[in-house]
Symmetry: C2
Subunit: 139 residues, 2 copies
């Protein structure tokens, strides 16, 4: 049967995961995309080129990140973190976040890793500052 996860279980799922689905609202409709992320200190750090997701989040900063571990349809856990989108413009925090993302995802292409060094790039670094989490699981 489906049961709520504890706060600790939910947090572990968010910390252990590296790929999640980011939900936002685009033009009044839900919009969901897979993202790679780093979870740190109640913030979810993501890097991205400017596209539909960034344009939507700049207009409506309400976001959620859904992270799951699915063995089969009756053995799974899913965590949700809700919060607000904030672009990281402070150069120190931005470099730190990009380095964390780079160390977690070593296949980052040169284009995407350039801004770590030159501070000039079309790559957006943003965080979702978590306000609330919830989780459910089964099996």
């Amino acid at each position: 049967m489906i049961r709520p996860l504890t706060q600790d279980e939910t947090r572990s799922l968010l910390m252990e995961g590296s790929v999640g689905r980011l939900g936002c609202i685009d033009n009044g409709a839900p919009y969901v995309v897979p993202i790679s992320y780093v979870f740190h200190d109640d913030n979810i750090y993501v890097h991205s080129l400017v596209g539909r997701k960034i344009r939507a989040l700049r207009k409506n900063s309400r976001a959620c990140l859904q992270v799951d571990q699915i063995k089969d349809e009756y053995h799974w856990r899913s965590a949700l973190a809700f919060g607000l989108y904030e672009e990281v413009t402070n150069e120190q925090e931005r470099s730190w976040a990009l380095r964390r993302l780079l160390s977690r995802f070593p296949q980052l292409t040169p284009v995407e890793s350039v801004p770590v060094h030159d501070g000039q790039s079309s790559v957006i670094v943003f965080r979702v500052r978590i306000e609330e989490t919830s989780g459910v699981g089964e099996g």
Copy 2:
């Protein structure tokens, strides 16, 4: 580099998938949950107990389903289908959908398979009638 998927690629991803992430809007905020689904004739069929997702969709029927195949962070495809939530109340369509879901997900518990036979249940069957799709991929 990230590229748009063709209509055919997007459709294949939706048809081949069996688990997706359903996005909806709950109280003005995005809400995302993993679901098992069957894709048929431009509709996404899902069964569910009444919970936060169903309550949210009854208030705001705008929904999306995100389905992906992720090999690693630089080899992935993601499809999105947008549409409206509709509860399936016609007994014939409901039975048909539950049978399709049951044959695709044979581990459906007895409780969940009961309504196929008796027509009485708290299990909701709904569909998202697809209005628009899009897809992106990399690698």
